[in-house]
């Protein structure tokens, strides 16, 4: 008989400055975890830190700045291997006996390789370019490029070679796959609208495409995942591209799970499953057990869309990623998305999230090198995903070989996410990772869209600044251009795999 879980400790400490608190109770109303409450007898607001997840909703809205959130003060004796995290994970498991869940990308402090890669700048011999005065080309085309391009004999401007379908991006950043169901309607809407406004694309995720979003279809990449949720002919016809999801960086090798409580009427209609049933995506596609099967599915989709849309395949970055990517390209994929181990998720077992997969920096570099070696690099565009945090990460990813990047966590953060990592509870205080109508109204899609467009705009300007600094005025000149990168604090082996020199060389 389970009573109080004595071994569990609060993660955070809520501090309230009594001189600043005006008992307006905004915090009481806004916390979905019931941390704050009003004591009517004593006319004071009190806080119970034990349920605080550190989302900062209360602190952000407090009109006097009276609330702040600190890490919980229970200090363990310092230990190199038995960290607080290791201890607490065992306490949780001992009390619950279940699989520990986590959300968003891994929070482990392994090396973030982006931070060990530095960019070049031009001086003296190779002048830098001022992006505010000179034209800079960020326009990126994703899709299969031809082996050779033939021009018209009479008019050199005309291309005779038939070109495969391409996606045109104004900025080499797209919104990653986040299913409607794992995130709210308002969040999905904001992503679709922002993608359209910024001239890029948003991925629908494996939850199908809600009827209301079909009008943004021209800016959407729809996913065909192992659960095949929402996949019908209309779905395939409305979009700009189709993506077969084989794996996901946060949880390679396992499938997806949306709990039945989150499957309301709208989600049921969009995913084409009964209301209240769990939406289970199995680990493998049960009709893909070999690379030939994958090829068959790719071409089936191409047939269904009459070869008018690029077909993308998303794989998680794991060992032998180069071989897998090569096979995928030869199987007919026009775009290959590689999702690194820092990628986000709505819910995954913590051990899988934190221990399975490899970082995107090495994966993208390895895949780009291998495909170039095999002479097939032009047959598919490469997208890097998995924990891209800034425009600098974008530039480095492209320099390591990607054509463009997907951002998931960064987009959510732009909309207000504070990375409390509790998406799987459905109690997102920011109205993003929830279906609770009391919470979803907190995300005004207009405001969210504005923030996303602002993010892309800011990053685009920064990318141009960095490119200009390197003396480059077109993104194509950056793609796979390892010469512009140097490594610091990386081993020889790592430098070799990344294909870059060490700083100083």
């Amino acid at each position: 008989m389970a009573g109080r879980k004595w071994l569990l400790e609060p993660d955070f400490l809520v501090e309230r400055d009594p001189d600043r608190c005006i008992q307006c109770q905004v915090c009481v109303r806004q916390c979905a975890n019931d941390v704050h409450s009003y004591d009517a007898d004593e006319e004071v607001v009190r806080s119970d830190s034990s349920t605080c997840v550190g989302c900062h909703r209360c602190a952000t809205l407090c009109p006097t700045g009276a609330v702040s959130i600190r890490r919980a003060q229970l200090e363990f004796r310092p230990h190199g291997s038995w960290t607080a995290h290791a201890l607490r994970s065992i306490y949780k498991q001992a009390e619950t006996g279940g699989v520990l869940l986590a959300a968003m990308g891994t929070d482990r402090t392994h090396t973030v390789t982006w931070d060990h890669v530095l960019l070049n700048a031009s001086q003296v011999t190779n002048p830098s370019i001022d992006p505010l005065r000179e034209p800079m080309e960020l326009l990126t085309h994703l899709g299969r490029k031809p082996d050779r391009v033939e021009f018209h004999k009479g008019d050199a401007r005309k291309v005779v070679t038939k070109l495969e379908p391409q996606l045109a991006l104004q900025v080499p950043v797209m919104f990653s796959a986040m299913s409607y169901g794992s995130i709210s309607y308002n969040a999905s809407l904001a992503l679709a609208q922002a993608a359209k406004e910024a001239g890029t694309f948003a991925n629908s995720g494996e939850g199908g495409l809600h009827q209301d979003f079909r009008k943004f279809g021209g800016s959407m990449i729809v996913q065909v995942a192992s659960g095949r949720f929402g996949v019908d002919v209309d779905y395939l016809n409305t979009c700009a591209a189709v993506e077969i999801k084989i794996g996901q960086g946060a949880k390679p090798g396992i499938g997806g799970h949306l709990p039945g409580q989150k499957v309301d009427a709208a989600i049921s209609a969009t995913r084409m499953i009964p209301e209240g049933t769990d939406a289970l995506s199995p680990a493998p596609h049960h009709d893909i057990y070999s690379i030939e099967d994958l090829s068959q599915l790719i071409y089936a989709i191409k047939e269904a869309t009459t070869y008018t849309k690029p077909v993308s395949v998303k794989i998680a970055a794991v060992h032998n990623i180069s071989a897998i990517a090569s096979g995928t390209v030869r199987a007919g994929a026009d775009i290959v998305v590689i999702d690194g181990y820092r990628g986000g998720t709505g819910a995954a077992p913590t051990v899988i999230r934190d221990n399975v997969g490899i970082p995107i920096e090495f994966a993208i570099a390895a895949v780009d090198s291998r495909l170039r070696q095999e002479g097939i690099r032009h047959q598919a565009s490469l997208i890097a995903a998995g924990g891209i945090r800034s425009s600098a990460d974008v530039v480095k990813a492209i320099a390591l070989g990607a054509d463009a990047v997907y951002i998931g966590s960064a987009a959510l953060v732009a909309m207000g996410c504070h990375l409390c990592q509790k998406c799987y509870t459905g109690k997102c205080n920011w109205g993003i990772a929830t279906q609770d109508p009391y919470l979803t109204r907190r995300l005004n899609p207009d405001i969210a869209r504005r923030r996303l467009v602002n993010l892309l705009q800011g990053w685009a300007l920064e990318i141009k600044e960095m490119m200009g600094g390197m003396g480059i005025n077109a993104i194509e000149s950056l793609r796979g251009n390892r010469e512009h990168l140097r490594g610091v604090g990386l081993s020889d082996r790592e430098l070799t795999i990344l294909g870059i020199k060490a700083a100083g060389e």
């Binding site: 005006i22 307006c24 905004v26 109303r29 806004q30 009109p63 006097t64 109508p437 009391y438 207009d446």
Partner: protein
């Protein structure tokens, strides 16, 4: 003239609008001081109604054909000719509550001392009403009234 419009679908029921309305109409205009000393003395002109997860903020609509102006027996309730805002003059009001009787939105309240009528004044004198400026979810917006 401009009117405040409440967008029900975005109201999160936080009541920051009520907080800021009180501060703006207090003597000190400083939030901590106002709440410490003047909480009982100022009735916010805006009120958030909530039922389940639905909520929205409501204040005087500054109607073009205001029933309160016609019902007012002292002429305290009148329209400011420059801004078009309906204002209640506390020096003229005798607290007969005819305005409360006729306002279809229930936007007029008995003031803190229960002596005179109290309602939204569209933050006359400030460029943007404070409820509009401080709503964290843009659920309260200022719109030009085409009428």
């Amino acid at each position: 003239m401009k009117r405040i419009v409440a967008r029900e679908e975005f109201c999160i029921g936080c009541r920051l609008c009520e907080v800021h309305c009180l501060v703006q109409h207090s003597k000190s205009r400083k939030i901590i001081k106002a709440f410490r000393d003047e909480r009982e003395k100022v009735v916010p002109g805006i009120k958030v109604e909530s039922s389940g997860h639905v909520s929205f903020a409501l204040q005087c609509r500054h109607c073009g054909e205001a029933p309160c102006i016609e019902a007012c027996m002292t002429g305290a309730m009148a329209r400011d000719p420059e801004t078009g805002v309906v204002l209640s003059d506390p020096d003229k009001c005798v607290g007969c509550w005819m305005c409360i009787m006729v306002c279809p939105v229930g936007a007029v309240a008995r003031g803190a001392n229960q002596q005179v009528a109290s309602k939204c004044d569209l933050c006359i004198g400030v460029a943007t009403p404070v409820c509009v400026a401080n709503c964290p979810n843009e659920a309260i917006v200022l719109e030009e009234d085409d009428e």
